[in-house]
């Protein structure tokens, strides 16, 4: 027994930074948003793995499992979000990794956001969302232990 534990102190595991896989799903190549978000989250202390462009839902989930990520962030600007965001959630389910949180960003109409949340997407950030709102949402979701 260590001295600390003997003294009744809490043994704290070193806080591991939240690890996030950011991915561009679908065919569009508009990566301005995802890159800005990646930098901001990295500066805020998150561990960021950016997959690059044209990832299929299978590739994204595989990357998240390989990297042992807790979060997947999806960026898409082509209008295919109703097909591809749920496909990522479905793939996580198939791989028994539903504990990985999925959020997304892009041009997503309000009605679609409601539907995507029903289908298991945790949050959607739309144009004009402050970076701080994404950081706050993640911190809230993963409070420091």
């Amino acid at each position: 027994m260590s001295e600390l534990a003997a003294a009744g102190a809490q043994v704290e595991e070193p806080a591991r930074p939240v690890r996030i896989v950011l991915a561009k799903v679908g065919l569009d190549g508009h990566d301005r948003g995802v890159k800005v978000v990646a930098r901001a989250l990295r500066d805020a202390g998150f561990e960021i793995i950016y997959t690059g462009l044209r990832q299929t839902p299978q590739m994204v989930v595989e990357a998240a499992l390989q990297e042992d990520a807790q979060v997947i962030g999806l960026s898409l600007h082509s209008g295919a979000h109703m097909t591809l965001f749920p496909a990522v959630v479905e793939e996580l389910r198939r791989r028994r990794a539903e504990d990985i949180v999925v959020f997304g960003g892009g041009i997503v109409p309000e009605d679609d956001i409601v539907e995507l949340k029903k289908q298991g997407v945790a949050e959607i950030f739309t144009p004009g969302a402050p970076l701080q709102s994404i950081i706050d949402w993640l911190r809230n979701r993963f409070p420091a232990r």
Partner: protein
């Protein structure tokens, strides 16, 4: 330039300025690109040199002596969604409402060279534009529109040669001569590697296809604008105005170099290179950018490339107002933003213009929002009076000084790109991509810290809750219909002819000296699909993947 005031007068102004109370809102006085702006420009800001007139080298004041007195800009609204039949209806609607040229937006699978029934096309059909799989769709797209009489712009890059051949084949079926056709192909692959990222092949074979199409059109389709060298996407990806100008012109020079290397003569192809710029929200900076672009192009074409035909020296450009400047919050305000940007484009001397619809930040434009966007241009042309005099801002201390500075900044970037060994090595090193990402991040931070305000986004947000606006939805059934249609085309065609065309194209692709255009045209005529034609070239050229850098 001779300063026209006494030094003492200026010193007096300076004292007054320094002691005057200043705004304390914390908002930066830099341009949207982050460039410093003096509080006052005077005759001391003007560079030496003889006074320049419009239509005169280096065309800072415009390429036409008569400006818009001679001819207004072309009002060319970019449109395309769902299927060819739906888009055909929108084109007719726009033409009936006074639009003067067509501009085709293709959907993501078409832009990425794949057919509608490819597995990765799921969910993407018809959202960003119209789905075109084969000549059959192209015939539907232009049904009832005489191609000999309209001018058409097509925004397509990696598969540009294929879509151009489809257009030529439709014209052929309508009985139009290729020599009559007017239009523009975006066909600018370099900015795809830099910014928009819709690349398929690696840079070298991509460039070969661009040069093939330039070479082919110079002979066969002489009135066609073969490349629309685009700053728009560079800017929308987050670049500054100076970066947009510099990277775009550098791309233009790279196409010129590639054509010269092929053995083409400068004056045989340069008159058909056109440009496409963004009109962002920072009014004067944009006007200066357009003026500087003309001057840079003219100087380089004459002095570096020895062009002699005046048409080679005259930079013609299309402008689109800035999609990135639009806000999802209080979207009706986008009408005012677009009008401001459109005015900058007109004062910068644009040859054609697309004004964004207010709802493009939310989804596809409705008939109504598309009409308002067009009407905005018509107001500028016929109500505002800005078209009455040529280059009305010529001689403005501020605009002239900004124009000079924009040119100098672009020249400095050309040197940095040259240090990499040219545009392609600079792309491969990620130079431009990094510059753009840095600028985009800096802009976002300015918004976060409120050094820059955007109405409805980080200030003046009252009213945001009323954001109810109608948006256009693409019915799911159209996706299934399009999938059926391409399969039907494959079933119906002469199989032997189609197979032969693809084999011959593949063979020609493997032989670097062949111009691929005639082979692609044959494949298109045989109703080979876009995916099949691009696939044959992928077999030979391979696929490009970029190293993702944050």
């Amino acid at each position: 330039m001779k300063v026209r005031y006494a030094e003492e007068t200026f010193a007096q102004w300076q004292r007054q300025f320094e002691t005057a109370p200043k705004r304390s809102d914390g908002v930066s006085s830099t341009t949207v690109s982050g460039a410093d702006i003096e509080p006052l420009y005077t005759s001391a800001s003007l560079s030496e040199g003889p006074e320049e007139l419009p239509g005169e080298f280096p065309y800072t004041r415009g390429i036409h002596a008569a400006g818009y007195r001679g001819r207004l800009w072309t009002m060319r609204q970019f449109a395309g969604f769902a299927t060819a039949a739906e888009t055909n209806r929108r084109y007719k609607y726009l033409l009936e409402n006074g639009q003067t040229g067509l501009s085709v937006a293709f959907d993501m699978p078409t832009l990425m060279g794949q057919d509608s029934d490819a597995p990765t096309s799921r969910g993407e059909l018809g959202h960003c534009g119209v789905a075109i799989d084969s000549l059959d769709d192209m015939e539907t797209l232009f049904r009832g529109i005489p191609l000999a009489q309209v001018s058409t712009s097509m925004t397509i890059n990696s598969p540009a040669a294929v879509l151009l051949c489809m257009y030529l084949a439709v014209a052929e079926k309508q009985g139009a001569s290729m020599k009559q056709l007017n239009g523009t192909l975006q066909n600018d692959i370099l900015k795809e590697f830099i910014a928009q990222k819709e690349f398929i092949f690696p840079p070298q074979p991509s460039m070969r296809l661009v040069v093939d199409s330039i070479e082919y059109c110079a002979k066969e389709v002489p009135r066609w604008n073969t490349v629309s060298i685009s700053g728009y996407h560079i800017r929308e990806a987050g670049s500054t105005a100076a970066q947009e100008l510099a990277f775009t012109l550098a791309d233009g020079f790279a196409y010129v170099d590639a054509c010269l290397e092929r053995g083409l003569k400068i004056d045989d192809f340069a008159p058909r290179l056109a440009y496409f710029f963004d009109a962002h929200i920072d009014f004067f900076e944009e006007i200066a950018k357009f003026r500087a672009a003309r001057r840079i192009w003219a100087r380089h074409l004459r002095d570096r490339y020895g062009a002699q035909d005046e048409r080679s020296l005259k930079l013609r450009f299309h402008t689109q107002t800035a999609g990135v400047s639009l806000t999802a919050q209080q979207p009706e305000l986008n009408i005012a933003r677009t009008a401001t940007e459109a005015l900058a484009a007109v004062l910068g001397g644009t040859q054609s213009l697309h004004t964004n619809a207010m709802d493009e930040v939310l989804g596809l434009p409705t008939d109504k929002s598309a009409r308002i966007a067009l009407r905005t241009q018509q107001m500028l042309a016929f109500e505002s009076g800005v078209a009455n005099t040529v280059d009305p801002l010529g001689g403005s201390y501020f605009v002239e000084a900004l124009t000079d500075r924009m040119e100098a900044e672009a020249e400095a970037y050309f040197e940095r790109i040259d240090a990499y060994g040219g545009v392609i090595p600079a792309i491969e090193a990620g130079f431009m991509q990094k510059e753009i990402a840095d600028a985009a991040f800096r802009h976002q931070q300015e918004l976060e810290t409120r050094q820059r305000l955007i109405v409805g986004v980080n200030e003046f947000t009252a009213g945001n809750e009323e954001d109810e606006i109608e948006i256009l939805r693409i019915p799911r059934r159209l996706e299934q219909e399009q999938v059926e249609r391409v399969r039907e085309v494959r079933r119906r065609r002469d199989q032997a002819q189609a197979a032969r065309a693809v084999t011959q194209l593949r063979k020609a692709a493997a032989s670097p000296r062949e111009n691929l255009m005639p082979y692609i045209l044959d494949a298109v005529r045989a109703y080979c699909t876009e995916g099949e034609i691009m696939g044959a070239m992928v077999d030979v050229f391979g696929l490009y993947t970029e190293k993702a850098v944050i």
